[in-house]
Every structure is written in structure tokens, then in C-alpha cells.
């Protein structure tokens, strides 16, 4: 299943929608998106994981590799609408304590605006 990544920009926030499976090949795409220097102009990145069915270690690796950079630039990275299966992967690895994962868009929005 090919991965589809769409970016929507709403008042200083990027809403990134992940659709499909984030495996070794599609994580290259994600890495390109996150490496885009333009992204640093925004202070919040909300990642909609509603249609993210699977995440591989390579996909996790992409998020992990950008984590420190976003933190240094004080960019908030917030995941929401995550399926249980995918959330379990984040949790096993211990990423739930490192990243902000919330249940829905409203919650993500309110955390982002704190």
C-alpha cells in the first residue's frame, strides 16, 4: 500500500496527514517532508495518524532522528488520532513518554496552543 502524505497549513501550524503504511520505502518520503527547511518556519506540527495502519522501525527512526532538531527549534510535534496498533508500537519502544500523543484534533490543538 503506497503512503500518502498531505500537508495543510493553518495559522502557523502544519497539519500533516499520514495515509497508508509507513515502511522502509515510504519513510524516505516522510524524511524528505520533515527535512524541508520551510517546516522550520512553523512552530507546531500536528500529525494526523487516523489512516496510518502500520509503522515500521524505519518510520519510527525518521521521527526519532528529527525529534531533537524540533525540540531545539522549539517546534511542537504532536500526534493524534493514532490507532491502537500503532500506538502500541510507540509505547513498547518507550516513545510515548518522549513524544506527545493525544487522542484527537481538539486536544492536539489545545496542547499546541499552550
Amino acid at each position: 500500500m503506497p503512503m500518502k502524505i498531505t500537508n495543510e497549513i493553518k495559522d502557523n501550524t502544519i497539519i500533516m496527514t499520514l495515509d497508508g503504511e509507513l515502511d522502509a520505502s515510504s519513510s524516505v518520503m516522510l524524511d524528505e517532508e520533515l527535512s524541508d527547511p520551510e517546516i522550520m518556519e512553523y512552530s507546531k506540527i500536528l500529525v494526523d495518524c487516523k489512516n496510518l495502519h502500520y509503522i515500521s522501525s524505519a518510520g519510527l527512526g525518521v521521527f526519532i532522528s528529527h525529534l531533537q532538531r524540533f525540540e531545539d527549534a522549539q517546534i511542537k510535534l504532536i500526534f493524534y488520532n493514532m490507532q491502537d496498533k500503532v500506538r502500541n508500537v510507540f509505547e513498547i519502544l518507550g516513545l510515548d513518554l518522549l513524544m506527545t500523543i493525544v487522542s484527537d484534533y481538539e486536544e492536539a490543538r489545545s496542547i499546541a496552543n499552550e
Binding site: 522501525s57 527512526g61 525518521v62 526519532i64 496498533k85 518507550g94 516513545l95 513518554l97
Partner: protein, 720 residues
Amino acid sequence: MAKERKFSLPFIDITSTKNKILSQENKTADSSPMLYKTNARSLLVTTAVVSWALLLANVLFSAHRLREQGVAQLSLPFLNNLLIVVFLVSVFLFQRLSTESLKGVDFIGYLWNLFSKAAVAAYVSVALFLGYKVMTNYADTESPLLLHLVYQINFGLLVVFLAKAFYIWRQLLLYHKNKFLQIAWDWFELLLGAMLLLTIFNFDYNSYIFMPLLALIGFYILFLCTNLKWVAYLTFSNKSRSLVLLGAILLSCYIFVRFFRGLKDSPNLVIDYTDVSFLLLAMMFVGSYTLAAFLVSLFSLPTSSVFEQKSEDLLNFQRLSQSIQQGQSEAQVYDMLFESTIKASDASASWFELIRNGEPQVTHLLNINIDQIKRIRHLLLAYNIHNIDYINNNLNRNPGFRDLMLPWKSLIILPIKSKNYLSGVLYLLKDIEQGFDRETVNVLRTFTSQTILTIENLRLISESLQNERYKEELKIATQVQDSLIPKKFPVDSWFEISTHALAAKEVGGDFYDFLQLSESRIAIIIGDVSGKGISAAFHMAQMKGIFHGLMQQDMPPSEFMKQANSALSRCLEKTSFITSALYIIDYSMKGFMFARAGHCHTLYYNAMMDDVFYFQTDGLGLGIIRDKSYANHIREMYYDYNPSDVMVIYTDGIVEARNEANDEYGEDRLKYMLQQTYHLEAEDIKYAIINDLENFTGPDNLYDDQTLLVIKFKPVEPNK
């Protein structure tokens, strides 16, 4: 006597078939037919000589009687005719057998053979006749006996000449034959043979009954004379030589015809061989075919160079396309291209550039110097037409080229270019305008495209060899990695352990290992490197080193994870991380200590409470946070075990394995499996889980490395 001889011929045939059958039975196929041929030939020669001698005797006898009695009549005319036929048949059959052994396409050889062995006979006959004339003039007396002798000898020579020519022409006429032509020829031979009957029964072929028949045969001969395919295969020089030989053979024909027609119906002779219709027809065939060959050779002489060029192009093309099978190198292929294209286009100057690392390098030149090449290249670069297909058939019209003052007037550039790779450029120059016409350009393009194909194929072959080598190296890597994973755990009476490891690719990122820390303590580690393949395998080896290095100092699991994280932070690439879990089991304390760094939860069966559950502990994977703060993300846990407790340690390849419907195997199913099997031995629990997993995924559905360790604590105390 002659009759006897004649009947002996079919008899030979019968023995020959017998011989053939025998030879097939005895598997001595080579000697018998050869022997038969030699025998038959010597017999035919003897028959010919004897019949000729008898004829001579009869003729001389009759001539003698003519002088004595003045009656020009042959004694025993019927026997005489029979002798003529026997002589003809034996000579023709002899030649038939001899020419069959001639093979190959050495046409000049055939012609020379015909000329040297038969056509010369005509000149001998002329010499004989002149000798006779001189002698009679000198002695001033008529010598009918001598005349008859000369006439008879010339008859013999004529027959030998005709027979030889007849069968050599057959050989050439049937070159590239088809079935129809073969049948046509066989009928021709049969018809000619039938003509001999006329002679035997002394019919006059000039009579009205036979005239239409003769005319028909004449047309038949004309039709046969159109089969001259061999002439096309002669080169220019061969054609000139064949013209001389054919001319000489024609002259021989003329001499014989002239001689025998001159003495036709002569009152001085008792016999007239022009009455033999067979000879007339044979002469007609030999003469017409020779004339036809002569004329065709003569008129095809101007076009022969075209055919020579075409066949040479074809040959070069073949050489080029076969160069792979012959194991030739790229350089040799370019050599061939250079030579062939110059020949095909008749170029007056040429050079070839090989592109190495994007830089052209002149490897071949002909009649041009480096300075001229430089100037032309410079100009082409200025026009931006280098390295592309380009034809200029009138360089003088272009001011740029005119200024270069080159001695050439036409230029063609042929890049050797595959879809995305330029391997070389060929430049051909000619000193005439319109030097490269469409026909030539087509041939040149064929050459270059074949070269491209050949070069591509050569590269593909070397690439596949390279791939083969990589595969071998990968095989070695698999073996090396396999040796990194322990095959045997220490066997002890207080626990049993069973392991399973399966890599999705040649090398994988899963690993497990153990270290005996002291007599009662053992450290077991399991881990999974993110990603797959070679890079994962390298990190896995690294992790094994870290495990052995750090655990020599015997530290608690959480401390190990902190130090391993700090070690890996320096060498792991940014997107890579490792999940791991470390267990230190102490049987003297009947407990184990463990820490989980982002690895899958440990599945556990507690025998005392009869419960199967996952240890829910926190712990971040290694290499995710690369500073001291990692210490806050790792927890350590201590657990007392009971006899018959079972611990299942695995990697995500097990729980994330999928079936065809894309469902994951999952933690729940794994837990359920342990609930069903905890009472079994560790080995059997492992097999039960693996079998269930395989049933779930189906065959050939392995996408991630799978590792599974089952540890069962045993109730028996170790013997001390």
C-alpha cells in the same frame, strides 16, 4: 567381347549395393565404397581403352579395305556402333564418378581442372592434325591410315573433353540447387543416355522424325544454361581469371567442332562421328553453358565490386555480432567497428574517440593527425554538434569548415550511444562531396547499433559476474553472522532453554546471546536493530561486542542499558536505534533481574498463580536519546521465579508477522499459545508457537527477522 563388358556394368552395380549393405553391417563404412569406386573406375578405364582400341582396329581395317577395294564401307557396322556406345558410356561414367568427389566452392579450381585436364586436349588434337598435314605435304602422299589414326585419336580426346566438361558443368549448374533443378538435370542425363540408342540402331537423327525432338532438347539445354548462380560468388579478380579460362574452353569447343565438321562426309574416311547424336547434344550443352558462363561473367564484371562489398559487410557484421561468444574485449569490438566502417564507407580518413570518465580519448586514427582532429572538434563544439548524429556532405559550403582548409569534403559523426550511456564517437571523412549517401549511412548505422548491442552485452556479462561475486560475499556474511549467534546454551539441571532464529534476508538485525557471569548467574540478552540487511547486521555485531565488553564487569541490567546507549550514541546513524532486553538470572536466589530498552514485553507463565501475562515495564529503546537523560527512561525489575515458570522472549518479527489478510499475529495469540502449552518442555513450547505462527502467516511470507527464546525453570535443584 564388348557385349560382355557392357553387361558387366550392371553387375558391378549389384555388387556395390551388396558392398554397401555389408559395410553397414560390419560398420566398416569407409573402406568398402571407396574400394568399390576405385575398382569401378579402373574397370571403366579398361573398358574405355579396350573399346577405343577395338574401334581403332576396326576403323583401320576398314580403311585398309577402302584403299584395297575402293569401297568406303565399315565392316560390321553394328558392332562398330556398339563399340562407340560402350566407349562413350565408360568415359562418361568414369567422369561422373570422378567429379562426384569434387566439393566446395572453389569455382576457379573447377575451371582450372577442366581446362588443364580436358580443354588442352583440343590443342593436342590441333597439333596432331597439323602434324599430319605437314607430314602429308612433306611426303606429298595421301596416307589414309594415318588420317584415320589422327581422326580416331581426336575422337577419343573429344569424348574425354566432353565428359569432363559435362560433369564439371553439372557440378556448377547444380550449385545452390533446388529439388526442381535436380529433377530437371536427372531427366536431361536420361534423355542424353537415350540418344545413345539412336546410335546403336543406326538411326539418322537428321531425319524428320527426330528433328522436333532434337529441337526440344536444344531448348531444354538453353533452360539449363540459365543456372549460373556460382558466377555471383566470384570476386572481381576471380571473374577476370575465370573469363580467361572460359575463353580457352570455348576455343577448345570451337576447335573440336571445326575439326569434326571439316571432316564431315569426307570421302577419305570410313567413319563419321558427327553422325553420333549424343556427341552433338553433349557438345551443344558444353558449348552453350561455357558461352553463357563467359557472357554472364563478362557482364557482371562491373557490378561484382558491389556484391563483394555487400558480402564483406555481411561478414564483418557477423564477426561483430559473434564477438561475445568468442570472448572478445571492448577494445577488440572497437577495432572491428573501426575497420569495418572504413571499408564499408570507403572513407579516406577517420578517427574514433573513446569516452572515458566523460573525457574523449582518441584511440584509433587513419590518415588524419591530432592537430586536425583538435581543430575539427573545436569547430563542432562551437556549433554544438559534437557527440550527436551528424552528416555533412558538403563541408565547403560551411564557412567554418572552409576556414579549416581540410582536404575532405564529407563528414559523418556516429556516436556509439545506448539509452543513457555514451561510450564512444566515430568520425568518418571523405574527400568527395556527397560521400555518405543514404545506402552507406544505413550500413554504417547498422554497424554502430550492432556495436552498441555488443558493448551493452559485454557490460551486462561483466555485471552479472560482479553480482555473482556479491552473492558469494553475502553468503559469507550470512555464515559470519550465523557464527555470532550461540548455538548451544549452557546445559544445567535448573533450567532449560530453546531458541529459534530466522532472518528475512541473507543477514538480519535480530540477535541474542548469553554470558555466564558466575557459577549461579547467567546473563541473557535479546535485541533487534532497526532496519534490515547489511547495516542492521553490522549494528547487531556491534551490540554483541558491547554486551560482552560491558558484562565482563558484571553490572545490573539498567546500568548496562545506560552504558550501551552511550556507546551506541556515538556510532549509530541518526535514524537507527536498537531495542533490547537483558535478563540476569540467579538460581541461587531463585530470581532474575531485567531491564527492557524498548524491546517487546516479556511473556511469562507463573506456575504458582497459574497465570500467563506480559511484564508491563517502561524503557526507551537504545540510540533514541543520545545524552545522559536516557538514565531517566530505563527501569529495572526483579522477579522471583518458581519451578515450572516459563519465560518467552522474542522480537517484533513474531508478533508483527502478518497473514494474507494483513492481520498481525499479535501479543494476544502468543499469550494464548503459552496458556495452552506451558506444561510442555521448553523445546516443545517453542515448536508449538513456531508451528502456529507458520500456520498463521502461510508459506513464504517472511518480511522481518524472527527470534524466539523459551526458558523454562525446572523444579529440580542442581547437584552440588
